[in-house]
């Protein structure tokens, strides 16, 4: 398992692009917005990956750490060696998802929620986020104004010239079945669907491990989802 991690990381072209050689100057951490708010240090992540220490990499893949990055790529603009810690993080995330290490951390487990929401929204609606699926009860952070917009959706969107769920052009228009089919094929060909399945697969194992089992002896993903929402 361990010797596999390095080769998994190195097989991703983004690592080649993102990490040539790090001299530990800390300029990435200094510019990193995430580092200001979290116990997060992109420099030390780059150093860990550079060291090739399998145990430390395994720990990283199972940690919250790799999920703090907002992928703003500010680090890329500063690095005096033209490295990009943001890309290193992308690769670590992918390997964490592929190996199932992500379910070992609170931040990592949220991958399941993201697949179920944004991930499936793309396939079902053609949008990451669409007004009709942003239900106020699930999104208290949107506040009372959103609740009002949601309840008066037809009028509000028409008044700003959008074509909500309509045929033909315009913002928020309905995405045709043909286009959705194409999106689906892109996700299939590019490995996106496989990715969703992998995340679901490991999430189910985690759900069983946590005791979320239904009457058929299968993982109860409803309860697991509730657990994840409480974890946030």
């Amino acid at each position: 398992m361990h010797s596999k991690l390095n080769s998994l990381l190195k097989s991703d072209v983004r690592l080649e692009e993102g990490l040539t050689a790090c001299m530990n100057c800390g300029i990435c951490t200094a510019i990193c917005p995430a580092a200001e708010y979290f116990e997060y240090d992109p420099r030390s992540i780059a150093v860990t990956v550079q060291s090739g220490n399998e145990e430390e990499i395994a720990t990283l893949l199972e940690s919250d750490t790799i999920w703090y990055c907002g992928q703003c790529m500010s680090c890329k603009t500063r690095c005096p060696r033209n490295n990009c810690p943001g890309l290193i993080i992308s690769v670590l995330r992918k390997v964490s998802q592929e190996t199932g290490a992500f379910v070992q951390s609170r931040m990592g487990r949220q991958q399941y929620l993201i697949v179920k929401n944004i991930g499936m929204n793309i396939l079902n609606y053609g949008y990451c986020v669409h007004p009709t699926i942003l239900m106020p009860e699930n999104h208290p952070e949107q506040g009372p104004v959103w609740k009002w917009v949601y309840e008066n959706m037809g009028e509000v969107y028409a008044s700003v010239g959008a074509n909500l769920n309509g045929d033909g052009p315009g913002a928020m228009r309905k995405i045709s079945g043909a286009d959705l089919g194409e999106l689906h094929r892109i996700f299939k060909e590019s490995g996106g669907l496989k990715f969703y399945e992998t995340i679901e697969h490991f999430s189910k194992i985690k759900a069983l491990e946590l005791g979320f089992v239904n009457e058929n002896g299968e993982a109860d993903m409803e309860k697991y989802t509730q657990h994840l929402l409480q974890e946030i």
Binding site: N24, I27, T29, A30, N82
Partner: protein, 363 residues
Amino acid sequence: MNRFLPDVLIHTTEMMKNKHVAVIGGGIAGMEAASVLARQGLKVTLVEKQKATGGKLNDWHHLFPDFSSPGVVVENLDKKTVRAGVNVVCHTEISHIERNNGRFELSDQRDVKIFADAVIVASGFHVFDATLKEEYGYGLFSNVITSVDFERRMKKHGKLLTLQGTEPRRVAIIHCVGSRDAKVGNIYCSKVCCITGIKQAIEINKMLPECEVFCFYMDLRLYGSKFDSLYLEAQKRHKIQFIRGRLSEAAERPDKSLQLKAEDTLQGRPLRMNVDLVILLVGMEPALSNSSLMRNNQMKPDENGFFRSVNMHEARNVGTQEGIFMAGTAICPMAVNETLENARSAALEVMNFLRTDKNHGGF
């Protein structure tokens, strides 16, 4: 004529008397090389583009690591060149070197021509343009200055004040500006900046004992035999603080002080700090005139854009075009004492070349 000298040397000297060497660049490397060659009896023309010789040292306040005066160095070199009989031509910038029948023809924009049997290129270096590191705010924020500005200010005014005319209470000295930085295309180390920073930090502490001074570094590259003791002195006696982290950006605050963002990499956490003045230790780059000098002859740049030597160990002063030699920081970043040594070794290479010159029968 000295009777005790062996005949062969007198013969050589007679032969060498008719040789003419042109030295391009009247900084300390060119002055030293020219005066050494002239003392050996050669005809030497030293060409300087500015109105006077001395080069960059004319702007420096104190030299590291002994705080001695660069003015004295230049003064002594001036005396040496005059006494040795060097023909000094100022206000002339050589832009063209051509070799015809074993002789060199040097010309400038106005078509001034100088003929020579050998050439020493001592064109020096270019100070990194700190405005290229826009995130450090040089040229945008008045309280961000360079190490060269510091030297000039100290030489002219003898004191260090902020734009507002107050004495700074906190100063940050930033290492590696324009050096070891792929973003500006300079991946090499300029070598002298670390010790310059320490020297300037000590000078600030001596002037303003209440002022806190911070050096932001990646590695302290204190290669000289007396450099580490100066580092120790800076910490022990002058309470200079060294923070291991590269500056990410500087932002001006309403009161014209500067907020710095870096990581204290030894603590492993981001760091924000407000200072009254920032000094950028700007690196050394190939001189701007290098590319025009390389044109029309077979001189080549090395991977950093300085002049390439035929062998970096055994023939550092020997250029890739036969008969053209280099001295000083035209080859790579170096300190004053190294530059002078390097210039003397260039003079020796020229002597050897002219003695064995095939066109003149050889030694």
